[in-house]
Amino acid sequence: MAHGGEHVLKVGNEGREVFWNAPYEGILFFFTAIALVIFAYGIYRRWQMWKAIGLPENRTDNAGERFKALIMNGLFQVKTFREAYPGIFHGLIFFGFLVLIFGAAIDATQFHIGLPFFHGGFYLWFSLIMEIFGLAVLIGIVMAIMRRYIFKPDFLGYKGVPDNRPDDAIVLVGIGAIIVTGFIIEALRLHVNINVDGFTWGDWSFVGYALSKTLAGVSYDTTRILHKITWWVHSFITLGLIAYLPFSRLLHIFTTPANYYMKNLEPTGTLKPIADFENAESFGAGQLEDFTWKQIFDSEACTRCGRCQDGCPAYISGKPLSPKKVIQDIKTYWLERAPSVLAAGKKTKEGEEAAIPEPDKAMVGEVIDLHELWACTNCMYCMEHCPALIEHVPKIVQMRQYKVLMEADFSPELQLTYRNMENNSNPWGIGAHMRGDWAKDLGIKTLAEDPDVEYLFYVGCSGSFDDRGKKVSVAFAKILKEAGVSFGILGEEEGCCGDSAMRGGNEYLYQTLAQMNIETMNGYGVKKVVCTCPHGYNALKKDYRHFGGNFEVFHHTEILADLIAKGKIKLTKPVEGLFTYHDSCFLGRYNDIYNQPRQVLGAVPGMRMVEMKSNRAKSFCCGAGGARMWMEEDIGERINDMRTDQAIDVKADTIAVGCPFCLTMMSDGIKDREKEENMKAFDIAEIVWQSMAVEKETDAGTPPE
């Protein structure tokens, strides 16, 4: 061999001959070419399929931010590391392979061009690094195999049935085999080297060296033959995996990073509004073609890791919904449908309309089961934790839109809710004229009476109509008055925020309600809004901007934290007990408000705090989001009961919440679990008001200001 022979390998000039004992490079190049052709064809074919179905959507704007997402999650694996075990093994494999590929490139360069430094100290360190990362990949693979085939966590399957496909095994075994054969080759080479060269630097290749010791007594010729065989096996497995990659789960090496780059740059949970009701022919997603290409591409980035499913309240409570399954079902159908659409396109002559076959399955009802569709609470756990940045919730909402807007086929309870929202602008259908009644005796002015206030207190439906919610409104309003905050309410002019309509698929009703509120608020020149309901908070803050509603929106826990920090309110009266805080999805995962509620509670004297098993970004939904508040929950266990159990498990006697829906659900959970005697649910505002010890003074005769 011409290459590599320039160096005499000895101590002080350590190295090795690349391609030693493998003198058939021509044949290898031939097979490499074949593998690359198959690989290229696979990618090309996939590319065609990605382009075949889906509406247009721009996901390449703002390159800077996108590149950042790609680096953070692609290179540094930030999302993947959120879960320890899979984070570690994926990191071992990912970083291991990254280094091995780089090493292979050095090897190849040395072989073809020659690297002047590929010997001596550099070579020894190179060997050691390759050894370590090779071992890392192997450990990662073993961990992955153990998880998938021995630990068998439910999230890798569905409802207790494992979802282990041949592809999973091929990929794991394939990668493992590359590493193992690599080490064996090394061992065989070292064995020969030791025998032939008086070799001394074996410890720099410690795995291969250790392995080579098992070869004692094997003759030079036998070793050469074994080396040759293993070398070819190693090469063929590698080339095989390259060729196989576009057809396997390994495709995620490309699709998942692509998904990072094409991530949604809108605020969490915002849904793209339907722009034109008058002229559009179809609303929502009734078939695959109603999704954008990116929404379909999401399913290509999915590796079935199951993190979405692992925290999905619907799944955990025994409903058929699994976010993973939704994405995979879309993928399965796309894999059926895309080739036929492609084929139809090919047959079509220039200028003709392609005769695309009619979809043989309805997206909703056949591809995605209706029970799955309506079980989603829009809690955002799946999207928060998906390491591939897949957007599950908007797809679900869009499919709901199709059922509601196009087919008007949805649950009677929800129909009643929507009628109530249409007629009385609240889900209960209580007379709209009673919206401001809770504030009657509190001396709170409406903006109609005095528009010159700093904050609009947007009370929302629960705070205005629900008996429990009204108490929260009263407590919060009293705190604001006590703190001297300038605020007003809209009273009868306020309308439902529309969140439940939007998330339940009734975009038309939602927009009608949103526009009425925005018109009213803009009419009074409202700048700052405070909400006690995270659903209204989220809608006003993030969704109303699409219709000209640009307000600075605060949740009441933010205001309370601020008032306490500034000393505007003093919490003096001890509130005894063991409290746990339930993170509302629309506050936590949607708006990253985790600390303020805890700060407020922390400022209450006498209180002891304990965290439930699921908290902060991993909080377990109360079950009321995504319009589920208004629907029967007749499959599986009740989500609110399961959440209540978590509070019972940590022996909390009070569940503190910052959301009226959660308040209802937790109160019901406490009733269901028959813990009413020793457990309560309170809104943070109520706890603060209790601790302010103001009411007692006024009750005792001190005239209110």
């Binding site: 009677p412 309870e413 009643l416 259908g429 209580i430 007379g431 008996d467």
Partner: protein
């Protein structure tokens, strides 16, 4: 010149219904003010024997249309007969019951007699020789005084509202030949399915025990039924309970269900949505049993108990058993 106060008395299976005595008594009162006679018309098959009973409640003359065609109420046959009788006798006032049957009959008579009617009235008086009726509208959220101008001046009377007053009159029975035109009878009753419960109908009940969302499920109604059976009461439900499928639609009390006015309405686990209150607020006495002391139902109730209905109702049943 139209003269006299007429009623159409309602009977079923050969016995007058209580509401017939109520309208007879009300008619008597009007006739006394006008110095007129009260005539009643009763239709049925084989009912001649009972006709004179109406005399006890102030009816001077009873027109009896006894014909197999009248055995069961049918709109066509009854309207034909009553229209003929009214046209022949030309009364000034015609009163009927606002019962299921009376509503059907009276409304069609408005058409056949081309007149006007105040329906479901809760009070009647004569002013300037004319009938002035008081009737609830908007499910009791407003009341209206209605002047009826046509001839006869018609009114249908809400059951359970007008007192039964005995005032013996002749109750002279007059046979009336309806001379039915059989070709004009286009409807027929093909089946009568009696309700299994045997309980009195909501709109007629003197006592109603009603349950709402607080009943938690269809099983919860068993304790209400036990109490209702003891009191001879009907069992009602709120819209929430009906929408949840716990009770049949026919049990719904409220603006989109039945409007009732019993002597006693016991609301259990009903918060008191406006639409429910509208259907029962004309009850003489309202009892509310609810855990939530702030439930709006307590504002309408004469007697309220703030407690768990599942504890209270069985105790009530036990107490009632003691005194009955």
């Amino acid at each position: 010149m139209a003269k006299g106060v007429w009623i159409v008395a309602e009977q079923r299976d050969g016995a007058f219904r209580k509401v017939s005595f109520e309208i007879a008594s009300a008619a008597r009162k009007l006739a006394d003010e006008l110095g007129d006679e009260v005539s009643a018309m009763v239709l049925g098959s084989g009912i001649e024997g009972i006709a004179a009973e109406l005399g006890k409640y102030g009816v001077d003359k009873v027109y009896v249309a006894d014909d197999p065609a009248f055995e069961k109420y049918t709109t066509d046959a009854y309207v034909q007969a009553v229209t003929k009788a009214v046209k022949e006798n030309d009364p000034a006032i015609l009163l009927l019951a606002a019962s299921v049957e009376g509503k059907d009959l009276s409304s069609r008579l408005v058409g056949s007699l081309a007149t006007g009617m105040a329906s479901d009235c809760t009070d009647l008086r004569i002013e300037g020789g004319k009938l002035i009726a008081l009737r609830p509208m908007y499910a009791g959220k407003a009341f209206a005084e209605v002047e009826v101008d046509g001839s006869p001046q018609m009114a249908s009377l809400r059951p359970n509202v007008f007192p039964v007053v005995e005032s013996a009159k002749a109750g002279e029975v007059v046979k009336f030949d309806p001379a039915l035109d059989a070709a004009a009878l286009k409807t027929k009753i093909v089946d009568v399915q009696k309700d299994a419960s045997g309980r009195v109908e909501l709109t007629e009940a003197m006592v109603i025990v009603s349950g709402g969302r607080g009943m938690k499920g269809p099983e919860g109604y068993q304790i209400l039924e036990a109490l209702a059976d003891l009191l001879g009461a009907a069992v009602g439900a709120s819209r929430a309970a009906v929408d949840a499928g716990w009770r049949p639609q026919t049990d719904q009390v409220g603006q989109t269900g039945k409007v009732v006015s019993p002597n006693l309405y016991v609301a259990c686990g009903i918060s008191g949505a406006i639409q429910h209150l509208a259907g029962m607020s004309s009850s003489k006495y309202i009892v509310a049993i609810n855990k939530d002391e702030e439930a709006p139902i307590f504002a309408k109730a004469d007697y309220g108990i703030v407690d768990d209905l599942f504890k209270i109702v069985p105790e009530l049943t036990a107490e009632v058993k003691k005194i009955l």
